[in-house]
């Protein structure tokens, strides 16, 4: 995901707003990303999207909408995509990458 400064827009549901994000996969070794919404202290904020874990091919992009209750908008500060890792049999450290956009 390109770190940007998204804004909340009206949705078709009363009391719910939405924003549209675009996810871009620059990692050849990753095929899935998990989306999350967080407050200033990185505590999770409830939200709805079609799929929290999104399959995306290498160098491809996917657009998706995130819906949030109007009452949570003040708290919501970051929308992040976190890479999901596959397990294997080696003893090693893996890399989870997270790209976060910020509401100003």
């Amino acid at each position: 995901m390109t770190p940007t400064y998204p804004t909340w827009k009206m949705s078709v549901v009363q009391g719910v707003k939405k924003t549209t994000m675009e996810l871009w996969n620059s990692r050849k070794d990753v095929g899935y990303y998990e989306v999350g919404v967080f407050d200033e202290s990185w505590e999770p904020i409830p939200f709805v999207t079609a799929y929290r874990i999104i399959k995306i091919d290498y160098l491809s992009k996917v657009k998706f909408d995130i819906y949030i209750r109007t009452q949570d908008i003040v708290e919501a500060r970051y929308i992040c995509s976190l890479s999901k890792l596959r397990s294997n049999d080696e003893s090693k450290t893996l890399l989870a990458t997270r790209i976060c956009s910020k509401f100003k």
């Binding site: 390109t2 620059s26 397990s87 080696e90 450290t93 890399l95 990458t97 997270r98 790209i99």
Partner: protein, 167 residues
Amino acid sequence: MKKLLITLSFILGATPILAENVDITGTVQSRCTVNMDTPGAYGNPNAFTLTTLPSSSGQEPIVRFDVTLANAYHAQVSYPTAFTSSPSLSDTVAWTGTVAVAQMSSSDQSGYQAASTTSGSMRQYALAHAGTLWVKATSIAVYGGGQAKAFPGGSYKSVVLASCVAQ
């Protein structure tokens, strides 16, 4: 002359207009990307320690940040504080680690490490310049709560979390 003009107008009128659609394509890539440069591996210098230190036959994971926009992002790297998979462990594991700049693409970035801030296991760099930054994370896990108990045999994995956060 008049006949020639009439003939020409018929010929031109009959000629199909050859138009071709020329596509303009472009790809907007992320202005901040995070990738694994070097995968990490644990060495096992003694029965109760797992470490990524090269002096103990480990390998420090190195993360690469590519930024094309200055003063727009924070890079955050956290060393592991738990195994994501391991054999069953009945005793506690003491975790330590460090995060440090391994390499930079420009001398402008030389102040990044000194200006960085920490919060628990996470170190944050303000990416004030466009360019590439390589950050290494060291992880040390000691088993047995100070009693030097041997790690059970098996496969151990942990995760370094690297984030690019809009400022």
